[in-house]
């Protein structure tokens, strides 16, 4: 192992040495364009992903506020909404078509653009080279391309919001026939074409990024950084990339078939369809086929979103408890188990689509098996906190919030994983509550934890703590107030995706509860604006970082200069002598990874 590491070290040193020279002698050659726009520096690309993701989070969040207003106050009129949305909100009332478009865009944007690109794109880019001890990614150029494909995807998706027939409105999963037939709904016309183009570009972006992340983690580790000395963030980002590289191409094949169904008259997904009383010629297709291809990505996708949050929470919990992570190898093993199982459970999204019930039984078993690695992780996080010397920084609070949400949301997953219970629970607000808590909000918390924790490394300044605490508590309490009641609504059978409920006698009594949820969601949205203000204010005006290692953390990124240049370390890349979690060992508060092992040290 050590000879191999030496070799890698030599290999990585040759290129970076030139980079190093460049920093000192060719400083004036860096123009604004190469430094901030078409940058190949992984740190800048990470910030580009983050800020683009934040832009989308704002749009996607605003959409949810608008459709929550409709759900909470179906009779009310909001004149400002007509100013903002025009025809979509005629007379200040959200139109049904617009409601579906907003719900669809909220899902697409949050799942792919915010929680995939904004979360994994940001932190994979930022942390992988810094924490494995590399000057940059394996291919900085592909890395830059990855961002610009995402950027182009963003522009195309954004433009779909402004076409006359509106953006796609058939749900974020884009099931045919709504997604395959332009005549099916206004949103199925050009909006859907733009959706497909944008998502195809997005898949390319993810693949380019993922290839790079894997190659960097396996090939570019510094001397002494064996795989078992990697911080858990890197392990999590590694498995995330593996999931993406293996599952996005399957979605892509599904998209190719969908494009042919839309434009070239094939019948992969279409059969026996009538529109406005007219029979379509398509025969022999199956809409279920698309669902198989979609969910073969779709399920790994939830782990693509969740694993980076898990990795960052592990790191942040350990640093701020001043204790080693409990059960490092169990953490790696459970990440691995989740990655394998992620590929074997997709059909649990399809229990009620006409899937063979016998087949369903296997998917129930495999789905419930995920509870085992998940429980191992939760146990290890709690035991890491146990009797720790906890520092309640905003980053730490968000990491603990993540654990809380992961437990609450994970428990309802056990209900939904049962195909028999799913007959009652599918397509109700119970599902909405489950996946928002366990995947959506929990991953957002992981992302916030990461931003608060690594902000000093990103911008050499701190975020404002007071605003951070307000942001945390409002979001934490708000998230439970929004999604907890939805479980009851779902158990009572209230279906998701409906435009209004006040015409059903059985759901009328949820009227005030829906109002309550809507009001809380507006408050939580405002708290996120507060975070954005904090973020951009602190870039220029935040408290300056004065020490290299403000959190007293062990990992390599804190051995770089306070403001690292392109190439990260100004001298040679440091050598690693130990794992990343020597906290509170032999009476020392922390021992960084670059500290050589002392003979008198106790073994861990």
């Amino acid at each position: 192992m050590s000879s191999e590491a030496t070799h890698i070290q030599q290999q990585t040193l040759t290129v970076p040495h030139e980079t190093h020279v460049e920093i000192h002698h060719d400083h004036h050659h860096e123009t604004f364009l190469t430094k901030y726009v078409f940058s190949q520096d992984h740190k800048t690309i990470a910030k580009q992903f983050l800020i683009t993701g934040m832009f989308w989070a704002l749009i996607g969040g605003l959409f949810s506020v608008i459709f929550r207003l409709q759900l909470g106050f179906p009779e009310a009129k909001f004149p400002w909404m007509e100013i903002l949305l025009g025809e979509w909100a005629k007379g200040g009332q959200l139109q049904a078509e617009a409601y579906y478009a907003l719900v669809t865009m909220h899902g697409t944007v949050l799942v792919f653009f915010v929680l995939t690109a904004g979360l994994s794109g940001t932190f994979a880019n930022f942390l992988i080279p810094l924490q494995v001890g590399a000057r940059d990614m394996a291919s900085p150029f592909l890395n830059m391309l990855s961002y610009w494909f995402f950027f182009t995807a963003s522009i195309v998706m954004l433009s779909s919001l402004f076409v006359q027939t509106g953006p796609f409105s058939g749900g974020w999963t884009a099931y045919p026939p709504l997604s395959a037939l332009g005549e099916a709904s206004p949103g199925s016309k050009v909006g859907m074409d733009l959706w497909l183009i944008s998502m195809s570009l997005f898949v390319v972006s993810s693949l380019l990024g993922g290839l790079n992340y894997i190659a960097t983690i396996l090939n570019m580790r510094t001397k002494g950084m064996s795989m078992t000395r990697l911080p858990l963030t890197i392990w999590a980002l590694f498995f995330t990339a593996v999931l993406g590289v293996l599952s996005f191409p399957v979605l892509f094949s599904g998209f190719i078939l969908l494009i042919f169904d839309r434009h070239f008259g094939t019948s992969f997904y279409l059969s026996d369809i009538y529109i406005n009383g007219q029979a379509l010629p398509n025969e022999g297709g199956s809409a279920i086929l698309y669902q198989h291809l979609f969910w073969f990505l779709g399920h790994p996708e939830v782990y693509i979103i969740l694993l980076p949050a898990m990795g960052m929470a592990s790191e942040i919990l350990s640093v701020n408890s001043r204790k080693p992570i409990f059960g490092y190898m169990a953490m790696v093993g459970s990440l691995f188990a989740i990655t394998i199982l992620a590929f074997l459970v997709w059909a649990h999204h399809m229990f009620v689509t006409g899937l063979n019930p016998f087949l369903g039984a296997f998917f129930v078993l495999l789905t419930l098996l995920i509870a085992v690695p998940s429980a191992i992780k939760v146990f290890n996080w709690l035991t890491t906190l146990w009797k720790g010397n906890i520092r309640f920084t905003p980053g730490m609070l968000f990491a603990m919030g993540f654990v809380s949400l992961f437990i609450s949301g994970g428990l309802t997953g056990i209900f939904l994983g049962n195909s028999s219970l799913d007959i009652h629970l599918h397509d109700t607000y119970f599902v909405v509550a489950h996946f928002h808590i366990v995947m959506g909000v929990a991953s957002m918390f992981g992302m916030f934890a990461g931003i608060y924790h690594w902000y000093p490394k990103m911008y050499s300044r701190y975020l404002n703590n007071t605003l951070g605490y307000i942001h945390f508590w409002v979001t934490m309490i708000g998230a439970y107030l929004i999604f907890w009641p939805m479980h009851y609504e779902g158990l009572a059978g209230m279906p998701r995706r409906y435009y209004k409920f006040d015409i059903w006698e059985s759901f009328k009594h949820f009227g005030t509860l829906n109002q309550f949820i809507s009001i809380v969601s507006i408050i939580v949205f405002l708290a996120q604006i507060l975070f954005l203000v904090n973020f951009f204010y602190s870039i220029w005006k935040g408290r300056k970082v004065t020490t290299q290692n403000p959190w007293g953390a062990n990992t390599l990124e804190w051995t770089t200069p306070i403001t690292p240049g392109h190439g990260n370390w100004s001298g040679e890349i440091p050598e690693v002598h130990r794992w990343a979690y020597d906290y509170g060992k032999d009476g020392k508060e922390f021992i960084t990874q670059v500290t050589p092992v002392d003979d008198s040290e106790s073994k861990h």
């Binding site: 290839l211 590289v245 191409p249 094949s253 094939t266 010629p281 022999g284 291809l293």
Partner: protein, 184 residues
């Protein structure tokens, strides 16, 4: 990690991961085909005869690129140039025979509108042909680079990487060919 991966060129390494990714795409396609072929009303497509010639062409091209790698390692540049261009030509010939096969099928009324099995067949083999075209472009770039650069260039890494990709699209074709013969 094994001895071989230690010495692997980073581009080649990244290509291996990309190969895994492309494999998953075709796994998606072919499993969709299997699922559909078990449903009622499925009418399989007869493989066009010319596709047997395609198979011979792409197998031959794998041999020539293998010999090209050897020639490069032995620095027999004239031989290398001939072999590389032969490989590219064989690749192009492969794509041409594919399209001849497509038009043969199309004339038998196996169109997008008429036949689901035919649509699958066109798209799966068509996407594979696109990957072959990508390989041909890579070979042309390799070839052009020998004349454009002023310094003599003897690294075997680019041709090895291109060779790996070429063998991959070859094996992928063999898989698809056998797949369509068996499942139909």
């Amino acid at each position: 990690m094994s001895e071989s991966s230690k010495k692997m060129h980073p581009h080649k390494f990244t290509l291996w991961i990309a190969i895994g990714s492309i494999t998953m795409m075709f796994a998606g396609f072919t499993s969709a085909y299997i699922v559909k072929s078990n449903q009622a009303g499925w009418q399989p497509v007869q493989m066009p005869k010319i596709f047997f010639l395609s198979t011979v062409l792409i197998l031959a091209s794998s041999l020539t690129i293998y010999l090209a790698q050897k020639a490069m390692a032995a620095r027999e540049m004239a031989k290398y140039r001939t072999l590389i261009s032969t490989t590219a030509l064989l690749g192009l010939a492969f794509v041409v025979t594919q399209f001849l096969g497509f038009s043969e099928l199309w004339q038998q009324k196996i169109t997008f509108k008429e036949s689901v099995a035919g649509s699958f067949f066109y798209i799966i083999t068509g996407v594979h042909a696109l990957h072959v075209i990508g390989g041909v472009i890579a070979l042309i770039v390799l070839f052009a680079r020998m004349y454009s650069s002023k310094t003599k260039f003897y690294s075997t890494a680019p041709v090895e990487t291109a060779g790996l990709y070429w063998h991959f699209v070859d094996i992928l074709w063999i898989y698809l060919f056998v797949f369509f013969l068996l499942v139909s």
